[in-house]
Symmetry: C2
Subunit: 202 residues, 2 copies
């Protein structure tokens, strides 16, 4: 298994460099678990799939907590057949697939319920792509059932699903959708944007 | 066929609202061809697949031409089986699939070669997802051959491909990759970020 993300942070501020540099400090607790590479467009995180969303959550919260309108955009992937297996990508929490689908939905809902609240309101928009063969439609329907009951489901849009709520349960919901559904060793990609402090009225 | 994009514009500036509102004017020439809906996270464009990238190019150039570090992020889709066929999504230029693969690669390269130069340097990063069945590997390899010869290929990264060059040929390359490869009526999604005026050294 190979898992990771290309992550970008966009603070809508003249001080975007300062906000990004300060927020990157929030990745320190995760640094030992990940391979991290940065260029002019994104930061690559390669490591345990169950640590990706907590790391992105803490990075984003560190940038957005000052009140600046910020967006985090990420391309998240697990099981890409073109990438070599890498021991650094072993899930810290163990397999998320060792139970039948109804029990996994219940476990995902419990994980969101017990997620820490950060006091930061966010909107998120994502597309989940099960690639290649081996993904059964009942897994997709199970994931949709989970999302609609997550407590942070906002609505379905063309090409994506929108969530809204506290950053804690929103990132936990994204993590559970990514980790717990689809073929256990299958290729799953997730296209994500998370926004905070937008001045737009909805 | 149903085709469209969820498009977001991120100017790294205190004046992000003003830059976005001014840039939206660049969509005027395309407005008659598209259904357009905006919320706090993105603008939905539904319309002809061959007009999507020119519309995004002009929107992005209008925002970035002032020198502000700007990013455009988009989730682009064609052929989603969950969406109804829509006459507004008929390609204006006709089918891009009426020739064998080697001729399509040549046509894609010619389209990039003849693309207008905008005088705006950009970097782009994208992931192309052929979803469901019916996409043959020779189509994927043909698309990769096209990209590597496009003149704006920068490098392969984990989870994505990076382009660099003038906004004209870069957006033309993205458009050709999206339109001309994969199953003609198949579901193809493209996760895109385009950046200009970044202060980062590479």
């Amino acid at each position: 298994m190979f898992s990771g993300a290309q992550v970008s942070l966009y603070p809508m501020s003249d001080n975007f460099v300062g906000i990004i540099l300060k927020a990157i400090g929030a990745l320190e607790p995760y640094r030992a678990n990940f391979r991290i590479e940065t260029d002019d467009m994104s930061t690559l995180l390669v490591g345990p799939p169950d640590q990706l969303f907590p790391a992105m959550r803490d990075l984003f919260a560190a940038a957005a907590n000052g009140g600046t309108h910020c967006v985090l955009a990420a391309t998240v992937s697990r099981g890409c057949p073109g990438e070599p297996d890498d021991p650094i990508c072993t899930p810290i929490e163990g397999s998320a697939f060792d139970k039948p689908l109804p029990e996994r939905i219940a476990a995902a809902l419990a994980a969101v319920e017990s997620a820490p609240r950060l006091g930061l309101s966010v909107a998120a928009q994502f597309s989940l792509y099960p690639l290649g063969n081996g993904h059964h439609m009942d897994e997709i329907y199970g994931c949709i059932e989970f999302l609609k009951n997550s407590g942070v489901f906002d609505r379905s849009k063309n090409f994506c699903t929108k969530l809204r709520g506290d950053a804690g349960p929103v990132f936990a919901t994204l993590s559970e959708a990514f980790l717990r559904f689809g073929a256990p060793q299958g290729h799953v990609a997730l296209d994500l944007k998370v926004s905070a402090n937008s001045p737009s009225k909805i």
